[in-house]
């Protein structure tokens, strides 16, 4: 009686067994990478915008402050997208008939919004609050990257949950002096560029204002400069202080402050966690922090 199968079929059968195993595994691996890939996260993708607005030009080139456009970043959960008026403030005088700006002028004329495409788009069930991050020493660039070097805006990080947790589990590595929040180039302290901090805890006053950090050695006459860096209590915090009932606060004179020198981010981070009263990781990673 003849064989049904040819000799080669033995090797074929065994190989196919092994192969199917390999395929399954590699499929898993692929999916694992896929779920983090820019294809899913839109990381680094430049969306089509009605106007090719360049942050580099406006921030690095012209030196505009972040808050000039994103006005409510310190007050509200929502940083704010500038109204057409903000653009017109300048572009009524300069580049008044650049074709690129046609949509802006059009909007100004017709009273219709310039319809931008969201670049940093969190899922709707994630409740992110800009104000608390900015007030507690997280700088813009920590999440948004070097916006001042982006000709066209794109999403620097994945903005996936694991990325959020990454910091919520260990805030120390991203905390910086509030004076440096809008400092895109902030690198963190180093032996070459140390940071001196001093604080006097005044309850009811935004922590940011009771901690004073300076990049210049207060010992050498930087003290005055340091003092100058203390943000005023006026403006945005009026409500807070008023409702806190502790009226105006007498800030300690810079000279009176005792400064500590920091040369690495870890030490600074740990120090600021205490000073800023950052909640412990088990609270920061509690589900209700971001989901409701």
């Amino acid at each position: 009686m003849a064989q049904i199968f040819d000799r080669s079929s033995n090797s074929l059968a065994r190989i196919s067994l092994v192969l199917s195993g390999i395929i399954v595994i590699s499929l898993g691996v692929t999916l694992n990478y896929l779920q983090r890939s820019p294809w899913v996260t839109r990381q680094g993708q430049r969306a089509d915008q009605p106007v090719p607005f360049s942050h580099r030009h406006h921030v690095q080139g012209l030196g505009l402050q972040c808050q000039y456009c994103h006005t409510s970043v310190e007050k509200s959960s929502y940083a704010g997208i500038p109204p057409t008026k903000t653009c017109i403030n300048c572009h009524a005088q300069i580049w008044t008939n650049a074709d690129l700006l046609a949509p802006v002028r059009n909007s100004w004329a017709t009273g219709q919004s310039v319809v931008w495409t969201k670049v940093h788009d969190l899922p709707d069930y994630v409740y992110f609050n800009h104000s608390v991050h900015v007030n507690k020493g997280i700088g813009c660039s920590s999440c948004h990257g070097r916006v001042d070097e982006m000709p066209l805006m794109y999403q620097e990080n994945t903005l996936q949950m694991e990325w959020c947790l990454n910091c919520h589990r260990n805030p120390a590595k991203n905390l910086r002096p509030t004076s440096q929040i809008y400092q895109m180039a902030w690198q963190g302290p180093s032996s070459s560029a140390p940071v001196w901090c001093a604080s006097k805890d005044v309850p009811g006053v935004p922590t940011a204002q009771t901690v004073n950090c300076t990049l210049k050695d207060p010992a050498s006459n930087g003290a005055q400069l340091a003092a100058l860096e203390i943000p005023s209590l006026a403006g945005t915090y009026q409500v807070a202080t008023a409702s806190a009932g502790s009226g105006a606060v007498s800030l300690p004179a810079a000279a009176a402050l005792h400064y500590t020198k920091f040369t690495d981010q870890d030490a600074l981070g740990k120090y600021l966690i205490v000073q800023y009263h950052i909640r412990p990781p088990h609270e920061l990673t509690s589900c209700d922090t971001c989901h409701r």
Partner: protein, 183 residues
Amino acid sequence: MPMREGIYGLIAEFDTPTELVQAAKAAYASGYRRMDCYTPYPLEEAAEAIGFDEPTEKGVARICLLGGLIGGCAMFSLESWVSIWAYPLNIAGRPLFSWPAFIVPAYEWTILFAGLSAAYGMLALNRLPAPYHPVFNAPNFRDGATTDKFFLCLEAADPKFSVSESRAFLESFRPVSVVEVDH
């Protein structure tokens, strides 16, 4: 499988298990080692006759045990890691390391891995799958070996093997037939 010189061996066909076992015993006694019996149902005597004894070899059993241990430990440590380190959460006020609850999945995985290893282990040790095998070349083998016939195959690879002598040797047990099997 590369082509080989000569034949694979001589195969004798018997009608009853008894004859097969007798022949096999004799062959083993007269020094044949590279040989095998083919039966339509498990026949311990045949295996003993050709000097093969799985219970003492315990190949499958070892693999099975190993698999079981791996499975169990893997799951239990995964559960513990997840609940204590990966994302510690207060669930119903229970401790993070709720080992009693973790036992169940670990237990299931022990069995899962043990079972799979036993099965695959068996196939591996048997060099299966092997859709092609020389013995299939023997006439009647197909129809018989898996139904009601009993075969003894002396393989050419055996140092003691020689076509004429081995055939004579097999003939001496009055088999239904003795044929040469090609590779």
